[in-house]
């Protein structure tokens, strides 16, 4: 995995010390809140409903064991014993004290982590496939390119005050697990006719109050040219993106208002000026970064393991976990193990200090010390021997981390909502808990199959509700929480934005409404259809009818 060089290390330490001074000056009254606010935001410090919140970057969702262990320690020492993994593959702490945050940042820096660019109108943490470097279906590990993007975008002097925040996602697999089509820039790795590997560049996707599926600005850009091309897009956005209205400032609005053809023209023109400059990355440099993400020392194994098969046949709960949470690995004899942070009735994405430490320990024992955070708020041990899966699951299960529900109706994305967030208009977490409890029966979850429910507590859509097969948006109606349901959203390679089903539901009604949708789907599905497939075949009307009848 990528290790900081001296430059990275110096950068982070200097920033940590700068922030310590800024906090000191703020507490002494030498700078006002108005002056301090942008400084704290640049260091990932928000002020939320109950307290400050610290958002820590997990670059492209990859963690080493020592880093995850340190995140657990920080949860215990500086917070209230837990953290919340987010849809940007980051982690948030909900209760840090301002005067202690500089120490927390120093402890993060000790394991090469920080909170830089986790807020503000800059290029945020680049996200990618949580199975990078392990997935059987991937063309190439996308993380070397993510790391290059991280280095290019960190403290980029031109892009520190963009019109609005900017999010990039990369997939190295045709099966998109990184939601690249709903990002400001999405990069989809593929090969051109000449057999070269490069990227389709998708621009102007996004969620929030104005959701769009991104549009292809260029079907293929070679690896060497990727960074100058990204720079050209950012320059066009920085120059032409709207600064008059915060709600129209994302690149998706620029693409929507000007049209993708016009934006392409501007980007190509800009790119022609810079493409042979210093941002052209040669093969040797790319090879250096690929080397940083070289596969671990896999053993040569048979793909089958007799003990693994025996455990599956003897232990139904283990077999169920394998069925949903274990994914095929590119290396024979190995598997990808998903650690669900969605226990039935639990808080999606929350992990305690000791759970983080346990997963860190288990990753060292079973997965080369490699852990991933998913944008669906789970963790992954990417390289586990099939022969070790039973021991791994047994240890996870003992600490409530062995839930077998990946991709099922109880594997819900939920933003923190009004329980924590200053922007929220309704709670999200309690709703996810009620839905999880309602569908807790595992046989029923198996019967329903893949169903992605995503819940946001306001129109900013941090819970990705627009791309939920069933999306739920929490709003405030005359002081009461109510929930709007959208259907047909999809974050995958077949991305689509969900459509609003109709009038909203009260908190008391909404779980029944979800259940009636699921019942209808079971009723009318054709063999092998997922909820989203049935919806696409029959459209909104049959579902609308069960929700509203004659209303």
């Amino acid at each position: 995995m990528y290790r900081y060089d001296d430059f990275d290390r110096q950068l982070v330490h200097e920033r940590t010390e700068q922030f310590r001074e800024q906090v000191k000056r703020r507490l002494a009254g030498d700078i006002t809140e108005e002056q301090f606010r942008p400084l704290r935001l640049m260091n990932g410090v928000y002020l939320q409903l109950h307290a400050y919140m610290l958002r820590v970057a997990v670059p492209y969702g990859t963690l080493r064991a020592d880093q995850l262990r340190q995140l657990g320690m920080i949860a215990r020492v500086y917070d209230k014993g837990y953290g919340h993994f987010t849809t940007r593959q980051n982690i948030q702490y909900n209760w840090p004290k301002l005067d202690e945050i500089p120490d927390a940042l120093l402890d993060l820096a000790k394991v090469e982590m920080h909170a830089i660019q986790t807020s503000g109108n800059c290029i945020r943490n680049t996200t990618t496939d949580q199975y990078a470097g392990a997935a059987a279906d991937e063309i190439e590990d996308p993380r070397p390119y993510c790391e290059l993007i991280r280095q290019w975008s960190t403290f980029h002097p031109e892009f520190t005050y963009l019109p609005r925040k900017f999010k990039i996602a990369v997939t190295g697999s045709p099966n998109d697990r990184a939601a690249v089509k709903v990002h400001d820039i999405g990069l989809r790795m593929h090969q051109n006719d000449a057999g070269e590997t490069g990227f389709e560049v998708i621009v102007g996707g996004g969620l929030g109050r104005t959701p769009f599926v991104g549009k292809t600005i260029r079907d293929f850009i070679g690896k060497n040219d990727l960074f100058s091309y990204l720079e050209a897009i950012l320059r066009v956005y920085n120059r032409f993106g709207r600064r008059d209205n915060k709600y129209k400032a994302r690149i998706k609005i620029l693409v929507h208002e000007e049209g993708i053809d016009k934006i392409r023209e501007l980007v190509e023109e800009e790119w022609s000026q810079i493409k042979d400059g210093s941002l052209r990355v040669d093969d040797a440099e790319i090879a250096h970064y690929i080397e940083q993400f070289a596969p671990p020392a896999f053993e040569t194994l048979a793909d089958d393991d007799a003990d693994f098969e025996r455990h599956k046949s003897e232990n139904r709960r283990f077999a169920n976990w394998v069925r949903s949470n274990v994914i095929e690995h590119k290396q024979p004899g190995y598997a990808i193990a998903n650690v669900s942070l969605k226990p039935i009735g639990g808080i999606p994405g929350d992990a305690t200090d000791t759970q983080m430490e346990l997963v860190a320990d288990l990753s060292e024992k079973y997965s080369f010390g490699d852990v991933r955070v998913t944008h669906e708020q789970n963790l992954v041990l990417p390289h586990v021997k099939k022969a070790d899966l039973f021991a791994l699951w047994t240890a996870l299960d003992a600490d409530n981390l062995g839930t077998a529900n990946l991709g099922y109706v109880t594997d819900i994305i939920s933003c923190p909502g009004l329980d924590y967030c200053a922007l929220a208009t309704a709670r999200s977490i309690p709703l996810s808990q009620r839905i999880s409890e309602r569908f807790s029966d595992l046989d029923r979850q198996h019967d329903i199959g893949e169903l992605k429910i995503k819940i946001s507590g306001c129109i900013n859509a941090c819970g990705h509700h627009h791309v939920g097969h069933i999306g739920i948006l929490g709003l405030d109606k005359r002081g009461k929480e109510f929930y709007q349901i959208t259907l047909g959203g999809d974050a995958s390679q077949d991305a689509s934005i969900g459509k609003i089903a109709g009038a909203g539901f009260s908190e008391a009604e909404v779980v029944d409404a979800i259940e009636s949708l699921v019942t209808k789907y079971i009723d009318i599905r054709d063999g092998g259809e997922r909820f989203i497939d049935t919806y696409r075949r029959v459209g909104m009307d049959p579902f609308k009818e069960v929700l509203y009848g004659d209303r």
Partner: protein, 97 residues
């Protein structure tokens, strides 16, 4: 006319506080000084917004409250959550004390 109090977050630890009768800040909404009517509310907010308080609290604002027996209860659920803590973690926040 509605009853209002001023709330904010404390600068050093970020916790929710309310402006009291003696001009200090309390974690308990029942210690808050109430204002009835626009004029009184404006005066209360003006006091809370004094520049010298910038090193004590962040972002003071008025909230509507109701007197319920001996307790003050915010009328908006958002503010109820701020007086208690997350509804999904009753072991945390002021509700846990």
């Amino acid at each position: 006319m509605s009853l209002q109090v001023v709330t904010a977050n404390r600068l050093d630890d970020g916790l929710v506080v309310f402006l009291t009768s003696d001009g200090s800040w309390s974690e308990n909404i029942n210690d808050a000084r109430t204002a009835e009517g626009k004029e009184a509310a404006d005066a209360l907010l003006a006091e809370a917004s004094a520049p010298e308080l910038d090193i004590v609290i962040v972002g003071p604002y008025l909230i509507d409250v109701e007197q319920q027996g001996s307790d003050l209860m915010p009328t908006k659920y958002r503010e109820v959550l701020r007086t208690k803590g997350p509804s999904v973690r009753e072991d945390l926040g002021y509700q846990a004390v």
